[in-house]
């Protein structure tokens, strides 16, 4: 799968998908390049876990609350 080709791209000097948490990848709060309050939110299109795609821009008209996270 094409997306798997990016697996080695590091994030803040370490592999994005690390196998041992040691807090070295933790940021002060946010990466500096991230959007600020008041900015237009960067659009993205991602697949749902169960299949179809959702684009953030298609949800305009109502507020969108986005939580980022993982199981662990």
């Amino acid at each position: 799968m094409a997306k798997d080709a990016n697996i080695e791209t590091p994030f803040l000097g370490k592999p994005y998908n690390y196998d041992t948490w040691d807090r070295s990848g933790a940021l002060p709060f946010f990466q500096a390049e991230a959007a600020r309050v008041g900015d237009v939110a960067p659009d993205f299109t991602l697949p749902l876990a169960e299949g179809e795609q959702i684009a953030l821009s298609a949800l305009r008209g109502k507020p969108v609350m986005i939580e980022f996270g993982s199981i662990t």
Binding site: M1, K3, D4, N6, I7, T9, F11, L12, Y16, N17, Y18, D19, T20, W21, D22, R23, L27, F29, F30, Q31, E33, A34, A35, R36, V37, G38, D39, V40, A41, P42, F44, L46, P47, L48, A49, E50, I54, L56, S57, L59, R60, G61, K62, P63, V64, M65, I66, E67, F68, G69, S70, I71, T72
Partner: protein
Amino acid sequence: MENMAREFGDEAHFLFVYVREAHPGELYPHHTSFVQKAGQARDMRKHGVGRPILVDSLNGDVHRQYGGMPNMSWIIDHTGRVSFKASWTVAFDIQAALEETLELKGLRRQGGFVAPYYRETMGLKVMPAEEVYLGGEKAYEDVRKVRERDAARGK
């Protein structure tokens, strides 16, 4: 967050973006393929997430773009602008911010004169004495080592 998503109902969209495992372990290891990542994303259902779950790319493209924090929250207003962001997801904060965002939306649509202002706050989250590390024993050991390191440094 699940209760809140239900309470707001049709007033707002709630999304969960599944990103890299923060505390990988033997039960939930770090991702090495998108197929594996999508599979673990579906396992979020077993851990109580009923909201739509979006699966980020293996390389975390959307996660990086939005700042890379492991459990951050963002609120995008009805016009597509960021109205709130926090590096951790705390329900109390989300509730207040979302209510305010909706109130502003209503005022604007009624022709109200609304002046935006900017604020920053820092919250402190009290960590439970015994956290559960769903990644498994290894995930717990990783955290224990960092805590010992911090304690040795007197942090």
